[in-house]
Each structure stands twice: as C-alpha cells, then as structure tokens.
C-alpha cells in the first residue's frame, strides 16, 4: 500500500527514532512510505484546552494536506483520534466535510493499521525479553484498539508477555493536564509506574510517545530498571531494522 505518514509533534522532535522504526517496519512489509511536506500539528493540545475556534484553520489545513492520500498512518493513537473523532466536533468549512469523512476512514494508528488494514497476523521477528503493554487512553477508548498491539507483541519469537495490573489505567499525562494539574499528574504516573514495575517485565511497550515520555520520565527519575519502548521500536528491533 502507499502510505502517507503523519508524524505528531512529539515524534518529530523528541522521538524521531520511533517514527523511523515505524517507517522501516512498513517498508520491510513491502509498503511504500511517503512523508507529506509542510505538515505541522493536528491541534490536539489546543483542542483539549478548550480552544476550538483557533484550531479550525489548522484542522482545515490538515484535511487539505492529507485528503488525497490513500492511507494515512501515525505512530500515535491520540493524534489519530484527534482527526478521526474530534475534528468532527469542529465547525470546519462545509466543502471539507466530505473530505474529512473520507479521511477519517483512511487514517490509522500504526498497530491498528498493521493488524486491521494490512492484515498482518504476526511479525516474523525475535525479542528475547519480557514485555508488558500500556493501553493509551485515546487509542483504547476513542479508537477501540485493545487487541491489535497485544497480538503483534505476542506474535514475536522468544518474547514473554506479562499483562500488568489494570493496563488501561491512565498514566496521568493528558497533554496540558500534566502542567495544569502537576501534582495530580504526578500522583497518577506514580501509580501507573507501580503497576508497570510490579509486572516484573523488562520492557513496557506502548503506542503513544506522549504516555511513554511521561512514564519514562518517572521511571528514570526513580532509577527503576524497567525500559520504555514504542511498539514501532519493538517491532523494528525484533526484525533487526534498527541502527
């Protein structure tokens, strides 16, 4: 398939290696990958802060930029949900409504794309470690993606999958939430990380860099041994596609 990439802000600036891993896995599976020039942000931080008017032009720009693409894939559930679900709550130009409807049916989060669209049953890779999986909220509850990433993880050779307690508990990041209610956000990530560490897994894998940044920040500061990994990095590593 010909895939257009949407690279969210955090992936562009903080975690480009994970996005690159996604590119390599997609190419390894025989897909053609294209980066759409001039893409910026989907507008989620402003939308979640209540600023709708301000992001209408940004949403319209996004739709115009991606409307002709066959498939759009992003290494993030929350940015995908922003377009697929929340753009529909904006008063965008009427002539773009049909384009948005169509785009909503063609844009996917990475693991969702692999399992549901590309029909991948298992990735032929090997990873000799124990892994637990963190459900990111928007991927799980807005897009309904629960089993797809688990299927991909479990399918790897030599891997040991350990479900943590309450894997669908929010990590407490929530974008601007983490700076608006800092103490609450810290209390939440503290609890999430307790579940992660108690799982005994060597790695915690997730599909959203934002949650992973939050979790990794806490684990690092508290010198916990659990390592944090984006699912794209896990799959790329298992296939020997990383540098």
């Amino acid at each position: 398939m010909k895939i257009a990439l949407f690279i969210p802000c955090l992936s562009e600036h903080l975690y480009p290696i994970s996005a690159l891993s996604m590119v390599r896995v997609l190419r390894h599976l025989g897909h053609e990958v294209e980066y759409v020039e001039d893409q910026t942000c989907c507008g989620q931080p402003a939308f979640n802060s209540g600023y709708r008017k301000e992001i209408i032009p940004i949403a319209e720009r996004f739709i115009e930029l991606f409307r002709d693409k066959e498939i759009v894939v992003a290494p993030s559930g929350s940015c995908t949900a922003m377009v697929r679900i929340f753009y529909h709550e904006l008063d965008i130009r009427p002539d773009l409504k049909a384009d948005l409807d169509a785009l909503s049916g063609r844009m996917f989060e990475f693991s969702e794309f692999l399992v549901d669209i590309a029909g991948v049953d298992r990735i032929d890779g090997r990873f000799k470690h124990s892994v637990t999986y963190h459900d990111s909220c928007h991927l799980l509850r807005e897009l309904g993606v629960r089993e797809q990433p688990r299927k991909l993880i479990r399918g790897l050779k030599d891997i040991e999958f350990r479900e943590m307690e309450k894997p669908d508990t929010c990590c407490g990041f929530g974008g601007t939430f983490s700076v608006k209610l800092i103490e609450m956000s810290l209390a939440m990530v503290e609890r999430k990380c307790r579940y992660i560490v108690e799982s005994g897994a060597e790695y915690v894998v997730g599909a959203d860099s934002s949650c992973l940044m939050n979790i990794a920040g806490y684990l690092k500061k508290h010198k916990q041994p659990t390592r944090v990994m984006h699912i794209a990095d896990l799959l790329a590593t298992s296939l020997g596609l990383t540098d």
């Binding site: 996005a19 802060s49 929010c170 983490s178 939440m188 806490y218």
Partner: protein
C-alpha cells in the same frame, strides 16, 4: 464546611497530602469496581441494557415537557400535590411554608442529592425545624458537618476510626470501631426520630409519567420509613428524573444497583403512587412532589450537553476516575463530583465559578466506558472547556500562548523554526531545567529534544536508499 469549585486546586493539593483519605478512597473505589465487574460479568446482555437505557433517557429528555405534563396530571389524579420550583430558593420556601402550615417540628430525610444541591437541611434547621438524615452514610456526614463525598456512598472518605470517634463525641457513647455496634447505635437513635417525625422528605430515583408515581430505591429501609411513617411525605426531584412508563423501569433497576454498589438488585424498591387511601389505611395523609428546575432547563437547551441530564447518579464514573480515586469528592467543591460533577458544576454554577472543573480530567474516557447510560463524559468536558474559553474565563497567558501557537501551526516554515528553537535551548540549558512548569520535573525526568528531528532523518534515510 463551605466548599467552592474555585478552590478545587487547593483541595486537590491538600487531599494528595492526606494518606488516610487516599487509602480510604482507594479502598472504597476499588472494592466497588470489583463488585460491579463481578455483577456485570454475570449479565450477558449488559451492553444491550446500556443502549436501551440511553435510548429511553434520550426520548424522555428530548420530549421532557410532554412527559412532565403527563406526570403532573397523573400524580394529581392520584391525589399528589405537585409543586414546580424554578430554583433552590423556591423549592426551599415551598417546603418551609408547607412545614409551617402543618406545624411540623421534626423532619426525617432519606438520601437525596437533589436536596443537597439546594442546601435544604441547613435551611430548615436555621428555621427551627429539626431535620435529620436517616441513610447511615448521610447521617454520619451530617453529624460530621460535611457534605457527601460520593454520590452513593456519602461517607466514603471516612475511616471506621473517624466514625467511631465521631459517634463517641456526638452521641456520647463509649468508643467503638465495630461497624455492627455503630450501626446498632445509629439505628436506635434514628428509630425514635422516625416514630416522632411530622414530615418525611425523600428524593426520587425515577418518576413514572404514565402512572404519576415515584420510585425510590434503597438498601436500609430508611427511605421506606421516611415516606411511610410521618403524616406528610415530600418528594424532591430534578426535572430530568422522569421515565415514560413502568416498562422502562426494569432496565434501570438492573443498571443502577449493579453500577452503584455492585448489587444485582437493590434491597428495597419503593413505588409510591400517592397518599394513603381508605382501603389500605396506612401511609402518609398527604403527599407532595417538588419538581426542581434549578438550571436543568438551561442544560436542556444544548443538544449535545443535555446528555449530562441522563445521569442516574450511580457514581460508577467516580469510582473508575483516576482523579477521583486520588482525592475523593470534596476536592471538586460541590455536591456533584467526579467526571459527572465536573460537567455539571460549570453548567449549574456558570463558567466563571466552574472554570476549573472541566479541566479536572486527563480525558482518559474510563467514565464513558463505565457509564450505565453511556454519557460521553470526556466529549462533554471538552465542550465545556471550550465554553470556559469562549466566555473569557481562561487565563490570559493561555489565551496568548495558544493564539501564538495557532499562528505558527498554520505556517510550516515558521513552525519548524519555532519547534527547533526549544531543542537548541535545551542543549544550552542545564539538564534538569523544565520550562514553563518547574513542578513537572519534581518526580519526572525531562525528555530530550532530538538533534535532527524526524523530517531530516527521514530525508537522509531516503537519500541513502535512493
């Protein structure tokens, strides 16, 4: 204890530093959730029930005038006095007038959030009428001089030790923390009050339009005594509580107790269709229903947000909310708390007083997932955040920041520069400097910006391949 949602951040910080509160809330919410899950797992048609309940509520709320008129007519035909109250003040005065006319000296109450909403107890007590809560949790909270911290478990934030001390101090009994013993004391005290009360005030879980009856569900039989023993029964209900007919009721009788307390059914389901009739010879001589608006018709005006009126006050969204779990209900600063409270506060009290409440959420959506009537709480919170902004109640530095960001996000070249810049700054600044939220890194290491960024790395990779 006067609470306000304006101080909600202060309450949160205080609550987070209270390990006893945290332990009590955590234990209570986790127990409720696992009991609920156990029941839900035994009901294979649970999702169908939720869909049906949502459809019934939608039908009622979208035709509320029709159903309320029908309810009023039927209730009057049953001999019930029906009163309409536009706000809390009107409702309080209707009840006080009635009490004065009938020379009421003492009132027993069963659990009702609607009466909490209009601060009825304090008002009646200030006017010289003894008013006593008879639900055990409500009784404890009233003795404590507090408001409930949970929709269905009012004293959830208190430990046994605290309740033991409270009873020792207020009721003059020897200290005990044995729940059975404390319960026996409360029961003895309340039994007398029931027998001597002149008026009973209850809430309403559901009102049946076609029958003109009200339904009150409970576990302790205190509501049954409240509505049955005194000569006058006053039921206070929010306008949204009406259901079309008795056929609609069973869905809710299954959904509500399972969601609220993890019960397959409530212990008592009271259906009250008017005062005592000659052939039965028991029950109150007079029955009144106070239909309270208090901002509900304003909520009704918004086609999206009116879904928040579907709420049946089960409290499941509180139990599952990762924020409620940390701090309990008082932190929200009003009688409705948790995710549903966060949507109701700005709608009832206005965006100014409620400007923080819709932000008390990480938008994780667990509340929507658990809601027995499928209220899309995270989406409504987002819409209410927008209202806070549109009504000018967002802090100026956020407004400026977001506008500047939006200006850049439309201009890819500038955006690339503006987002490249903090990375460069970060390389120059000391490793642990977080800007603009220093607290963020108190327990979290800051992520590092990448030297190149994805776009450049991708182009480099493409070149190698080509």
């Amino acid at each position: 204890m006067e609470l306000t949602p304006l101080k909600t951040k202060k309450y949160i910080h205080k609550a987070l530093l209270d390990p006893q509160l945290k332990a009590a809330v955590d234990k209570a919410t986790q127990t409720s959730l696992s009991k609920r899950q156990d029941k839900v797992d035994r009901i294979p048609y649970w999702e169908d029930l939720r869909l049906k309940a949502n459809a019934i509520k939608r039908e009622v709320i979208e035709n509320l005038d029709t159903y309320l008129t029908q309810f009023e007519q039927q209730a009057r035909a049953n001999g019930v006095h029906v009163h309409w109250a536009q706000d809390g003040e009107q409702a309080r005065n209707i009840i006080l007038d009635l009490a004065r006319k009938r020379d009421v000296k003492s009132i027993v109450k069963s659990k009702s959030l609607t009466t909490e909403e209009i601060h009825l107890n304090d008002f009646l007590i200030e006017n010289g009428i003894e008013t006593l809560e008879t639900d055990l949790g409500e009784y404890i909270v009233q003795l404590m001089g507090q408001i409930p911290s949970h929709l269905t478990a009012p004293a959830l934030h208190l430990t046994r030790v605290e309740i033991g001390k409270l009873f020792q101090e207020k009721l003059g009994i020897p200290y005990s923390e044995d729940p059975d013993e404390l319960l026996a004391v409360a029961r003895r005290t309340l039994r007398d009050k029931f027998l001597n009360a002149d008026m009973g005030i209850s809430g309403v879980n559901f009102a049946i339009a076609s029958a003109g009856s009200v339904c009150v569900i409970e576990n302790e039989a205190n509501a049954r005594l409240t509505v049955g023993l005194p000569k006058i029964h006053v039921a206070v209900m929010g306008l949204e509580k009406v259901l079309p007919d008795l056929n609609a009721l069973p869905y809710f009788l299954r959904l509500l107790p399972a969601s609220a307390t993890g019960q397959m059914a409530s212990v008592y389901v009271n259906l009250i269709a008017g005062p005592s009739r000659a052939k039965y010879g028991e029950g109150p001589e007079e029955m009144h229903v106070v239909l309270l608006d208090n901002g509900r018709s304003k909520i009704l005006a918004d086609p999206q947000l009116r879904e928040t009126l579907f709420c049946i006050r089960c409290g499941a969204c509180l139990n599952v909310c990762p924020i409620y779990q940390q701090v309990g209900g008082h932190a929200y600063g009003w009688v409705y708390m948790g995710p549903i409270g966060a949507t109701l506060i700005p709608q009832y009290l206005g965006e100014k007083e409620g400007h923080i409440s819709p932000f008390l959420s990480s938008l994780c959506g667990a509340c929507h997932e658990i809601c027995p009537v499928r209220i899309n709480l995270p989406h409504h919170l987002l819409k209410l955040r927008n209202r806070v902004v549109e009504t000018g109640n967002s802090p100026w530095f956020w407004v400026l920041g977001i506008r500047a960001w939006a200006f850049l996000a439309k201009r890819p070249g500038l955006y690339r520069f503006a987002t490249w810049f903090p990375g460069k700054m970060q390389q120059l600044l000391p490793r642990e400097t977080a800007f603009p939220a220093p607290g963020y890194t108190r327990k979290r290491a800051l992520a590092r910006f990448d030297r190149l960024g994805f776009r450049k790395r991708f182009m480099a990779e493409d070149k190698v391949k080509g």
